[in-house]
Amino acid sequence: MAGIPFGHVLALSGILVALGVACATARRNLIMILLGVEIMLNGASIAFAAAALRWQQLEGQAFVLFIIAIAAAEVSVGLALIVHLYHRTGSLDPEKFNMLK
């Protein structure tokens, strides 16, 4: 376990979050936005897990479990919203949903 330095793991998690942001802001598809959010959550989870290992504390792992649970709930709600929107408009393009402009 000692083979992988903590900094590398943090870098990985940072890259994942950055990829998530890029995915959520750049892809022109609602499902991809949801996926981007998921990736950001996972990047954060990796940071939590690595920190729990680094300081030998279990709270980090507990956080990861919570994040996974919440992410599952969030995906179900988000997908339900997307399905509903698709039914109403027949489109998944986020640019179409600009009625608050």
Partner: protein, 632 residues
């Protein structure tokens, strides 16, 4: 100021005379508008008391060595002192009496003339306002106070000229009178300010005292001319003379009041009031003389072609006011004031008679009135002939004496042109006066057998009410002329200015009488004799008739001036300024705001992802700031 022992009664009388008509005005407007008879009674009661007070004042102060002034400080600041109060001297007493008598007679006459008018109560309210303003103007002790009532006189005449405001021409005439007199009043006010700045005092007595002689002559001349501008507007002199003929739109008693004792007389009264002040500037007097002469001749020619009976008298008023101004400007104070007095009597009489005819015949056209049998109305016809003879200067009526005094004053001028103008004016006046009389007396064409008695004044009581003031005025016109010397002595008591010389050439009365007789003869030849076709010699010359009928194109000149100078240049400039400068600034401000908003609105696309991006970028920047910046 020392108050004589008897001062209290005098003061009380002055206050009563000047305050009661105002009280009547207020009560009528506030309480009794629904009760026409009560309103008329109130108004007439107020003016009667004022008349009694004026008579009392005149009797008490028949021998007044020095003018009485009751005044109190109104404003003072630095070198400037303005007082208000009453100034009682022969001139103001005389004028107060004239105003009270004419107002009283006209209000009594109106009982018959205005009977049944829906605005009867309103009419009497305005009449009271008019009387109040004029009496206060008469007794005003300072120029500013005089100016205030001067404007009130203008206001009330506006209200009365436009009394039948449902009629478009009447409301237009009221507006015209108001605006044209206002033009002169602006000059008057600037003149007052000039006097105030240079003299520091607006008291009429002070202005007339030798103290004013220390002012620089240029200042005296300029301020006198500016004040004369107000007189030109008020007394309808050239070039502001066209409002007066239009003011005929008001009820006839109003015209009588306006033309004899109140509105237009106020101008001449002011000139007489400030006579010593004006005398200090020969240049200003010369201008007054010229303006008076031009107005007199112009309006006399206009009267020669008019067919409207009231309009003829209106032109004649302008002409006679011009004559008064000439008399005053020629340096004869008594002559001008005497003619003002006699003119008030016979001009009121002329208008009131005309009112009876108009009432009876239902029209203003003199040919129509003649055809309708106006000569059968004995009392007004005789009274009108008396008044017309007085206007023409036929002895022994009042106009003869006063006119002759003015002509004598004009004869005293170095240049003979003024006397010639005066004699020509007298000739023209007589001509147009007797033209009217002969046209009414000897109607041509199918004489409509309808007697005016039958349909005109079906109420005999109304006729009698109207006839009574006529008889009184005719009697006054008959005897007033012989009071000239007494009046002269009365007026010149304690008079600071130079007493005008009485010497005049002996041939002058004969010349004046000759002009009058020639004019009567000419009028008889053209209008009176059997077989005359009733077309005057000026009416035969088409361009001349057109010139006179269009009032020498003075109104057209104003129209042109308005259209081409005021509207096209001045108004256009203002409109340009409004559009380009003011609108431009406001529009530019708004436009730049909108443009800025449009640029910022690019950030607001409504896209979810764009917001997310912005949030991320801001968070990253904040993170950089928080983590990186402190390390530096």
């Amino acid at each position: 100021m020392t108050y004589p022992a008897a001062a209290d009664l005098t003061l009380t009388a002055a206050i009563a005379a000047t305050a009661l008509p105002l009280a009547a005005f207020a009560v009528i407007l506030l309480l009794t508008r629904g009760f026409p008879r009560l309103s008329a009674a109130l108004s007439i009661a107020a003016i009667s008391v004022a008349l009694v007070c004026a008579g009392l004042l005149l009797v008490r102060h028949g021998h007044l060595e020095t003018p009485l002034e009751y005044s109190t400080l109104w404003m003072a600041g630095g070198d400037i002192v303005v007082r208000v109060g009453f100034l009682i001297d022969p001139l103001s007493l005389l004028m107060l009496m004239i105003v009270a008598v004419i107002c009283f007679l006209v209000q009594v006459y109106s009982l018959g003339y205005m009977a049944g008018d829906p605005g009867f109560a309103r009419y009497y309210a305005f009449m009271s306002l008019f009387a109040w303003a004029m009496m206060n103007l008469t007794l005003a002790a300072s120029l500013l106070q005089l100016y205030i009532f001067w404007e009130l006189v203008g206001l009330s005449s506006y209200l009365l000229i436009g009394f039948w405001y449902e009629k478009f021409s009447a409301s237009e005439a009221g507006k015209k009178a108001f605006v044209m007199t206002r033009l002169g009043d602006v000059a008057f006010f600037i003149g007052i300010l000039l006097v105030l700045l240079n003299f520091g005092n607006l008291s009429i007595l002070e202005l007339n005292s030798p103290r004013a002689g220390f002012l620089p002559p240029a200042v005296v001349t300029v301020s006198a001319l500016l004040i004369f501008g107000g007189i030109v507007g008020k007394s309808a002199q050239f070039p502001l003379l066209t409002w007066l003929p239009d003011a005929m739109e008001g009820p006839t008693p109003v015209s009588a009041l306006l033309h004899s004792a109140t509105m237009v007389a106020a101008g001449v009264y002011l000139l007489a009031r400030l006579f010593p002040f004006f005398s200090m500037s020969p240049a200003a007097l010369q201008v007054c003389l010229a303006v008076g002469a031009v107005s007199m001749l112009l309006s006399a020619t206009m009267a020669m072609v008019s067919r409207d009976i009231k309009q003829v008298w209106a032109y004649s008023t302008i002409s006679q006011l011009g004559l008064m101004i000439m008399g005053l400007a020629a340096g004869d104070y008594v002559a001008g004031v005497f003619h003002l007095t006699t003119h008030a009597g016979f001009k009121a009489l002329l208008f009131l008679c005309a009112g009876v005819f108009i009432h009876a015949c239902g029209g203003n056209d003199m040919f129509e009135i003649g055809r309708r049998g106006a000569r059968h109305l004995k009392i007004p016809m005789i009274c009108m002939i008396i008044a017309a003879a007085a206007l023409s200067g036929v002895p022994p009526l009042s106009g003869f004496f006063s006119k002759e005094l003015i002509l004598a004053a004009l004869a005293g001028r170095p240049s003979p042109i003024w006397l010639a103008a005066g004699l020509l004016g007298a000739f023209l006046t007589t001509y147009y006066t007797f033209r009217l009389i002969f046209i009414i007396l000897f109607p041509r064409g199918e004489a409509q057998a309808k007697d005016a008695h039958a349909d005109g004044h079906n109420s005999e009581a109304g006729y009698r009410v109207m006839a009574a003031p006529l008889i009184v005025l005719a009697a006054v016109t008959g005897v007033l002329g012989f009071g000239g010397h007494a009046l002269g002595r009365f007026l010149l008591q304690g008079f600071p200015g130079p007493v005008p010389g009485a010497g005049h050439p002996t041939w002058l009365p004969f010349a004046a009488l000759g002009a009058t007789a020639a004019a009567v003869g000419l009028a008889w030849f053209e209008f009176g004799r059997r077989g005359a076709d009733q077309v005057g010699f000026v009416e035969r010359v088409e361009p001349l008739r057109e010139l006179f009928r269009r009032r020498w194109y003075i109104d057209d000149a104003y129209r042109w001036l308005l259209d081409h100078v005021l509207y096209r240049v001045f108004s256009a400039f203002c409109a340009k300024n409004d559009q380009k400068v003011i609108d431009g600034a406001v529009d530019g401000l708004g436009g730049s705001m909108a443009a800025a908003g449009r640029i910022l609105a690019v950030l607001h696309t409504g896209s979810v992802q764009f917001r997310l991006l912005v949030v991320s970028v801001v968070l990253i920047l904040l993170g950089l700031y928080y983590f990186v910046y402190p390390l530096n």
